[in-house]
Symmetry: C2
Subunit: 497 residues, 2 copies
Amino acid sequence: MKQYTLVALAFGIVAAGPAYAVTGRDIAMQGTDNVPACSSCHGMKGEGQADLVSARLAGLDAGYILRQLAGFADGTRKNDTMQPVASALTEAERKAVASYYATLPIPKAAGAPGEASKAAAGAVLGRNGDWSRGIPGCGQCHGADGSGVGTLVPRLAGQSVDYIEAQFEAWRTGARKDDPMGLMAGIARKLDKAEIASVAAYYAAAPNVPAIPSGKMAAKAGVTKTGTFTPPPESAIPDNEFGKMVRLGENVFRDTQHYAAQYVGNTLTCQNCHLDGGRMADSAPLWAAFGSYPAYRSKNKHVNTYAERIQGCFRYSMNGDVPPLGSETLLALEAYSFFLAKGAPVGVSMPGRGYPALKKPAKPFDYARGEKVYAKSCALCHGANGEGQKSADGEQVFPALWGVQSFNWGAGMGNIKNAAAFIKANMPFSQAATLSNQDAWDVAVFIDSHDRPQDPRFTGSVAETREKFHNAATWMYGRAVNGAVLGEHSPPSGRRH
Amino acid sequence: MKQYTLVALAFGIVAAGPAYAVTGRDIAMQGTDNVPACSSCHGMKGEGQADLVSARLAGLDAGYILRQLAGFADGTRKNDTMQPVASALTEAERKAVASYYATLPIPKAAGAPGEASKAAAGAVLGRNGDWSRGIPGCGQCHGADGSGVGTLVPRLAGQSVDYIEAQFEAWRTGARKDDPMGLMAGIARKLDKAEIASVAAYYAAAPNVPAIPSGKMAAKAGVTKTGTFTPPPESAIPDNEFGKMVRLGENVFRDTQHYAAQYVGNTLTCQNCHLDGGRMADSAPLWAAFGSYPAYRSKNKHVNTYAERIQGCFRYSMNGDVPPLGSETLLALEAYSFFLAKGAPVGVSMPGRGYPALKKPAKPFDYARGEKVYAKSCALCHGANGEGQKSADGEQVFPALWGVQSFNWGAGMGNIKNAAAFIKANMPFSQAATLSNQDAWDVAVFIDSHDRPQDPRFTGSVAETREKFHNAATWMYGRAVNGAVLGEHSPPSGRRH
């Protein structure tokens, strides 16, 4: 490795010249005085070299590459080859080379031959995870197509199998520890080698966004166990007309933006609030909801069918238009819920239903403390301004918690009581129940003290709307926060085209 | 008792005169040469006398009275007082006196004091029966208001408690055996004294048609057990908004003519095909149906919600208009089904669901044999022409099996396979499974070889409609019976105003 340094020093004089002349392309293709050409290991097109276990750099986010260089330099990412290289690059050189690789076209990856069945299992794990062990789907952070999110969550699609496997090994052993909140280390320690191989095979093939695989494709995926009730595995979805409807429902549920676009007014998906595709206990699982309707709801003061209950989600949580009764969207969601509820008793409140009510905290919930919790534990994914984050391909990966792209004031999550319960039981993502009750309440009040689209039932008066629909200590709507009354300046509710 | 004869003989000369001069009123109020005045025991207004345990005759059907007189005379109804009286009346006198009493106004009955709670229990038994022991509700044969049906099924409303109890005792011991098909003997042997007292108290009070009693009223009613699954008792319907919707659903289900009049095109009710208010196993119970949807149906070639499945009942079996999705009628039926299904597993086919498939008979099913079975075992209630029977108050009690007031050609019951299965498992009413398989198939083909309203999906051609919807050996639609092709002359389908 030291030879690089020596080589760099040897070329020192030759390469002397004005710093501005050194482009990212120059560094990549020829190196600098102090470092060899990146292309010698990462390929002429930044495509990576599987036999060297070097990363594909083409198309990676520039900020992500910069973070890696910094990590190599300071040792938070241990790599004997890269450490001296990263250390020898100036700040300007790092930026130049990072920008260069970020703009390179992403080479078309070929799936490794004979990896198809492995990749099929990886597709399910990549999309769904295995929440019985607290493992989210890779795509739930890296984007469904693995295109990466921001500077923290890299593109997976097209990386080599060997490279991906090597990173898991590095997370697992602690050789790599630059993952925020220890997210990757936690996951790497839960996956076994076969599972890692399957997701590596899947992402190495640069897959398209996967729809719900057919019953046969999914047959090798394991059963997802949640709480006290085990919904059927995806492999139990039959290959018939009913199964098609169930699969459509799952697609709507997991990828609401694409499969129910006409009814959605923000960038959320159903499974933002119902984790694991509606399978997870204590995250309002569909298997517990399905058999609970028809039921009277105080929210609208009449008996609601399950279909009407789902309409409520679209109207408030999705800030959208209501799918009509009889529409395929509602039917598909009903069919999917019914499928998940197989064997669950009708009319019996099941353990794991909804979000487990959280005791009031010792201290009154507090905006300022909540702001700190948010910065520490939430902003990483949801953004400093609650706006969430999109993948490199523009797909919303981390949901917006307030603002125009979030749920409106009519949604149940706008009630601190519900938000705190959800957060405690499910957040941070894949690190459930790590916040204290106090933290959960505090961060809930912080989140629910930000503006969002108006309540669709708005009467024209915030005070009256609060009185009618938000008249509880756990609703911030209609109360003054930071000098403005929430609801007074809310953007209009409903879908904007 | 002999004194009557002596008295009659003593008046013989006085009463001599032309036979045509003797009116029913004369016989009732003064007697004849041979019999004393009926009023001496039955009261001046035919109101009956509780202390003599004599029947209220006012308003009874004339044919029914005539049948009783014949029964007293020939001993099929044993009564030492009435035997000589009935024997001494000429045929003309019997007719006259029967007609006289039939036209008398029905006196307003006063409920016995202190009988209210007994009557409340009787209301439930009278309306619902106890199908766990094969006991239909009294009102299911005598009319919901106990006003009686035709010449065979007498008015109960307003008879005295003592008289009703005495009749049960007579059925039980066999002292009275003029009940067709042994129907009353079978029921009398199943009821205990307290139950008999309760229905006697209920009908003695000449009740109005009962709606579903409130939870509190029904609290004393027993649990109805059906098959392998026990739906909750009516007493479990909560006294809240949800409970109101459940009760409305039960009312719609049991008395569809009144509670869903706008959607019904014939004189049927839901529980004609789903006995015991949808509770009975092997009679398409609601508790097994609710958790079976959404499901794909080959009938309409798509996945149906439970609401759409109910719509099908209205369109075909009720030959009516479809209650819109979101209508209170559908919601109420869903809520009632949900209530009955409490604890039943979602998506699991439960024993007792639908009608148990009946093996094909040894001999091909046969219209002529079926006609004989019908005459022997069905016509009593359903009428010689399949028209069913109404109560004295005009309410349809026994459903029409063909013709304009029956289900249309699109209904599942028009398929012999389904009809045979239903008949074997449930008919004759309260004497289930007494027909042989061969008889059930034969009578099914007889019933389903009669015309009924057109299939709502009629394409304009019977042959084509058969090809599309009835192309099986178990459909008679489109086939020639008695010289006419079924469907060619069917009255139009749908609700007629």
